[in-house]
């Protein structure tokens, strides 16, 4: 039977708006879940998908793509790749799967909300496919690490992390709940599809894909490249939404949503991506530095997209650019020092050669972040590896739930930005996290960081052992240790190695 061309039936098939007779429009589309901005339905009906696809086409294309990813996986499994892989690289996979797999399911629910509550038929249509995308991404990123659980129990965190009270999982959930799970369909689209997926998923999916291919892991490289091709398509839901908001006098609200979400996700992705790129991937396998990726994919591409839509760079752009050169270095050192709290095994991997690379990519690294590593390396070389592990607790940000850190050394920028609200003192890592809290304190005020939970009785007794148990470390799997069992420190004993590179140390 001959089939009509898609263009002959597409518009009429997806134009599913109608005039309700038995309920009011606001009952069908409650403003707080649908569109709190009051943009007329006629305006939403102008939503035109930048990328059109039919269900038949979707199934055909995605089946082929997924089959390709599964066949590469099968080939690599036969080669015993993972049994012989660099332990630090495996940590990158553990971190990725733990952080991302169930986040995809969360994103599926976000798209489902758009599918149900958007007043724009075209948006509902695209979100339906987005929902299917995220469902597939969740399943495939649970299936791939599942085979590795027998190799290393830490891979079980792919399924466990989002259900745990591990501090890193809490940080991820807090951001994702804010951006994807707890807002109306329109704002969710701006935050998720535009700020998150258009703005930042490239860095995780394309950047890490290149490093994975260099490491010979074509399974992971192929997998995340395939996922990113879906992300790039459904991310486009956000563009017409923004155009409609700007055209209807809601530019300020759109800008604010972008600014909140972009910062919140950046704080997470810098750890997820920046640390593996700049520390864990062996020097000769690194594609580019995190900063170079961020400059190209975010600093240039995303900024251009914002301006093209009539929006502006977030007000904190200079702070963001500074953060790109700071945050992940702080957390690389901190997560390594507090490694027993992690579900992965980070490597320190800051030997003399790696430090030279870091200094070249991030001028001043030795005088700031390097000073932190100096003390830990000296302890190891002096025969006290136990003193390379942190004691006590860092202060945690009441917004991003990440340790409050910044440059140490002579520039000394580490500080908490504090705010008193309803008699409680809140601490933030930055003026941006503090700004987000101040926009809507009622949204955030009751949430407790891991540090808060130590002092409000939720973690009892308040001992290192019970804190680790609370976070699932030693319960779901063994907690983190140095991936290379500190072997990288021996590079300082080699002839010609400069043991201490810090000026004035």
């Amino acid at each position: 039977m001959p089939l009509l061309e898609r263009s002959a039936w597409y518009d009429i098939a997806r134009d599913t708006n109608w005039t309700p007779k038995y309920v009011e429009v606001d009952e069908l589309f409650p403003p707080d879940q649908s569109d709190p901005y009051g943009i007329p339905v006629a305006e939403w009906e102008t939503f035109d998908e930048p990328y059109k696809v039919s269900y038949r086409e979707y199934v055909s294309v995605q089946r082929e793509k997924d089959a390709g990813a599964y066949s590469v996986k099968a080939a690599l499994a036969r080669s015993s790749y993972y049994e012989d892989a660099d332990p630090a690289y495996l940590s990158m996979l553990k971190l990725h799967y733990g952080a991302i797999a169930l986040s995809e399911y969360a994103a599926c629910q976000s798209d489902a909300r758009m599918t149900r509550f958007s007043k724009a038929p075209g948006m509902r249509n695209m979100a339906t496919f987005g929902m299917l995308d995220e469902l597939r991404h969740g399943q495939i990123q649970l299936y791939f690490p599942h085979q590795l659980v027998s190799l290393d129990r830490q891979f079980d965190w792919a399924h466990q992390a989002h259900h745990s009270k591990n501090w890193a999982a809490i940080a991820g959930r807090h951001a994702l709940d804010d951006v994807m799970m707890t807002r109306d369909a329109v704002t969710t689209s701006v935050m998720l599809n535009f700020a998150f997926e258009t703005g930042l998923t490239n860095i995780q999916m394309i950047g890490l894909s290149a490093d994975a291919a260099n490491m010979g892991d074509f399974t992971f490289s192929n997998l995340i490249t395939s996922i990113q091709s879906d992300e790039a398509r459904h991310a486009q839901i956000g563009t017409p939404v923004l155009e409609i908001m700007v055209r209807n006098g809601r530019k300020a609200e759109a800008q604010q949503a972008v600014d909140i979400a972009f910062w919140r996700i950046h704080r997470i992705f810098a750890i997820l991506t920046g640390i593996p790129m700049d520390y864990w991937i062996p020097l000769e396998k690194r594609d580019r530095s995190f900063k170079e990726y961020m400059t190209e994919f975010v600093g240039e591409q995303f900024e251009r997209q914002l301006l093209d839509l009539g929006l502006e760079r977030p007000w904190y752009w200079d702070i963001f650019l500074e953060d790109v050169e700071t945050h992940h270095h702080c957390q690389a050192a901190a997560t390594w020092a507090w490694r027993n709290t992690l579900w992965w095994n980070p490597t320190g991997n800051v030997g003399p050669r790696e430090r030279a690379w870091l200094e070249e990519k991030y001028p001043g690294w030795n005088d700031t972040f390097g000073m932190y590593w100096d003390v830990m390396i000296e302890n190891i070389r002096a025969g006290h590896p136990e003193k390379s592990e942190a004691v006590g607790m860092p202060a945690m940000c009441n917004m991003c739930q990440i340790p409050i850190s910044n440059k140490g050394g002579t520039v000394w920028q580490a500080r908490a930005y504090q705010l008193e609200y309803e008699g409680r003192l809140y601490s933030f890592c930055s003026t941006v996290c503090k700004w987000i809290f101040e926009l809507e304190p009622s949204r955030y005020k009751t949430f407790n960081t891991i540090a808060d939970r130590m002092y409000n009785g939720e973690i009892s007794p308040n001992t290192p052992e019970s804190i680790l148990q609370y976070m699932g470390s030693g319960v779901i799997s063994q907690g983190g240790r140095d991936a290379h069992d500190l072997a990288w420190v021996r590079a300082y004993d080699e002839p010609g190695a400069t043991p201490r590179l810090v000026a004035g140390s």
Partner: protein, 90 residues
């Protein structure tokens, strides 16, 4: 006497840290409590041999230090209040 957690900001350290102190600690004892989990682990003493003082954290880093013998209770430090532990020129 009761315990209190403050946020210690040790000069040159990359972290702010949660420090348990007793309300009858003097500021010199607060300094010691702040140094304990940091110096020798991931931080150095900001200036070996120099005196360290405690002051409330401000945007301009120029608040007057608390008297060395003042107690935590007398300084009215609050739960999770941030304090600087810094090299004093005095």
């Amino acid at each position: 006497m009761s315990s209190l957690a403050v946020i210690g900001r040790l000069e040159k350290d990359a972290h702010t840290r949660i420090i348990d102190v007793d309300t009858d600690f003097t500021m010199d004892q607060v300094v010691e409590a702040c140094l304990a989990p940091a110096v020798g682990y991931q931080a150095r003493h900001p200036k070996p041999g120099a005196m360290l003082r405690v002051r409330p954290t401000t945007d301009t880093d120029d608040a007057d230090p608390f008297p060395r013998s003042m107690t935590v209770a007398e300084a009215r430090l609050r739960h999770f209040q941030q304090i600087d532990i810094y090299v004093s020129d005095d």
